[in-house]
């Protein structure tokens, strides 16, 4: 096994029993991926192709029927703050403030109150939520909720970020802002990111490599290396190179 890789996904199968008890549904079929440290990949695929299931297995929420996930050479079997997930909805705790949410995971570590304060402030600054520390989630816009969710997991210094269509429910402008925010955070701390999306442009703006998944059973059918440099400002969308590769991917998706 290649121990240089940050995350190794080896031959994953996932089969769900059907509710009637007759037969079963193969959701993931021999998924294998390898990620370098600091790499950003995007997984594109039609809805219901098992993308979320894949992330749930990587996060340790679900167990595969076959295959393994290795993080820095050790198998992933249960959730850990080293591998952080940002869900499609922000999943903030509504009884805690923005700051309370960000501090949530820090309270389980051996930090003093003062250190928690400092780390919270750093991450509130990182995601641009200064002044909203005392707000409750239901008082925030969708974009601000996702910023809080991002800060909450980043505060625990995860090495891998799993992002399950986190910006899908945002309006077009917020989505672009959040993509740029994610890129700016990445340039500062360089986590490894697996970004699931059905938006080709989003995948191309963010990722080093784009993987295309097929309909059920979910298989990885193509790997496309994104030939765009970094930093990748929003203006990259207008370039001829971007349009060409976007066209190529759309052709692959709908062929």
């Amino acid at each position: 096994m290649n121990l240089d890789k940050e995350l190794i996904i080896n031959d994953l199968d996932k089969i769900f029993p059907l509710p009637e008890g007759i037969g079963s549904l193969r959701v993931l079929d021999k998924i294998s991926l390898q990620l370098d440290r600091g790499e950003i990949i995007a997984i594109l695929g039609p809805s219901g192709c098992g993308k979320s299931t894949l992330l749930n297995i990587l996060a340790g929420f679900e167990k595969p029927n076959k295959g393994e996930v290795y993080f820095k050479g050790t198998p992933v079997t249960k959730p850990t703050s080293q591998i952080g997930m940002v869900f499609q909805s922000a999943v903030l705790f509504p009884w805690l403030t923005v700051k309370g949410n960000i501090a949530y995971g820090l309270r389980f570590k051996k930090y003093k109150d003062k250190e928690i304060d400092t780390i919270c402030q750093q991450h509130i600054h990182l995601v641009g939520l200064e002044g909203f520390e005392k707000y409750y989630p239901n008082q925030l816009s969708g974009g601000m909720q996702q910023r809080t969710a991002l800060a909450r997991i980043l505060a625990l210094e995860p090495k891998v970020l799993l992002m399950d269509e986190p910006f899908a429910s945002l309006d077009a402008q917020s989505r672009i802002t959040m993509q740029q925010l994610l890129l700016s955070i990445w340039s500062q701390i360089q986590p490894t990111i697996i970004f699931v999306t059905h938006d080709v442009e989003e995948a191309l703006v963010l990722a080093d490599n784009v993987y295309i998944m097929s309909k059920l059973p979910g298989r990885i059918t193509h790997k496309i290396k994104v030939p765009l440099g970094r930093p990748r400002p929003i203006s990259v969308i207008g370039t001829a190179e971007f349009s060409k590769i976007k066209g190529d991917i759309l052709t692959l998706l709908f062929s």
Binding site: F61, P79, G84, S89, W95, F108, R152, I153
Partner: protein
């Protein structure tokens, strides 16, 4: 505590308290006028319904024992204490059992399958239907009252806790585990706060029912307590004392409800953002919705 006092102050001073809807007073005031009219002019004799002034006197006499108008003159405190202790014991026991069993059956599927059908079958028997059996088991008086209060208050607490505990979003639990919570901290930091609003509804319903069953239990024969005062007064022909005891039960029921909500608010303060509107409040006083 300081926070609590501050909030109380802003509550009292806030415009909401000043802008009382006067329409709400129309019916009570009309009734009082009619009450005065029919009693003061002797249409209804005072052994059926005393006039409001007399009742006011009796209430003050019951509390302070100034005029010796009834055999209960000045005996409010001892009867009140007896009743409050019974309610607190019964309600406390029901809260303990209701929360413990509620969380167990809400979170552990096997226990739900095991206990839910049984508990809901028992629940179908109205609390008052337990009275004869309770008297056989515990005799008239203290234990029967405690048993009836606990039994009746248990169900709303259990039902609300179990249901809301089973409805905690699995995403919250996943997020909590990912952020480092173990089984115990998952309960204290996610399941408990997520179910808290429903638990309060259950507790408030349970407390209201506690007062109802207190009166039922005390009617069967205890020496002290507001229910006993009512029953004895009926036999002694003091209808004004029956009404006086009813007034105090109403006041106590309301006060204990307010205290309960305040305690709950202290445990999990209402969601007041920087905007400071209490409209987003987690808990507000008022009638809980039945569920």
């Amino acid at each position: 505590m300081r926070r609590f006092l501050c909030k109380l102050k802003t509550n009292i001073l806030s415009k909401k308290r000043v802008n009382v809807d006067l329409v709400g007073f129309i019916i009570p005031l009309t009734l009082i006028v009619i009450w005065c009219f029919v009693t003061l002019h002797g249409r209804i004799p005072s052994y059926i319904l005393p006039n409001p002034l007399k009742l006011g006197q009796i209430i003050i006499d019951f509390a302070f024992g100034i005029w010796n108008l009834t055999p209960y003159s000045g005996k409010l405190f001892e009867n009140l204490t007896a009743s409050i202790i019974r309610v607190l014991c019964g309600f406390g026991l029901a809260t303990f059992l209701g929360l413990a069993l509620g969380f167990l059956s809400g979170r552990i599927y096997f226990i739900r399958r095991l206990s839910d059908p049984f508990i809901h079958a028992i629940r179908a028997i109205p609390g008052i239907g337990w009275l004869p059996l309770a008297i056989v088991w515990f005799g008239v008086g203290e234990e029967t009252t405690l048993f009836l209060i606990t039994l009746a208050a248990f169900f709303p607490i259990y039902t609300n806790t179990a249901f809301s505990a089973s409805q905690v979003s699995p995403l919250f639990l996943r997020a909590g585990r990912m952020l480092g919570a173990n089984k115990i901290t998952l309960f204290s930091t996610i399941i408990l706060p997520a179910t808290f609003p429903s638990i309060i509804v259950g507790l408030r319903l349970g407390l209201g029912i506690s007062w109802a069953y207190l009166v039922l239990g005390e009617l069967t024969g205890v020496t002290k307590g507001l229910g006993a005062v009512m029953m004895d007064s009926r036999m002694l022909g003091h209808v004004e004392m029956i009404i006086t005891a009813m007034v105090f039960i109403a006041i106590l029921g309301r006060i204990t409800d307010i205290i309960l909500v305040k305690i709950c608010n202290l445990i999990y303060p209402s969601k007041e953002g920087a905007g400071g509107t209490s409209d987003t409040g987690y808990l507000r006083l008022g009638t809980p919705a039945r569920s």
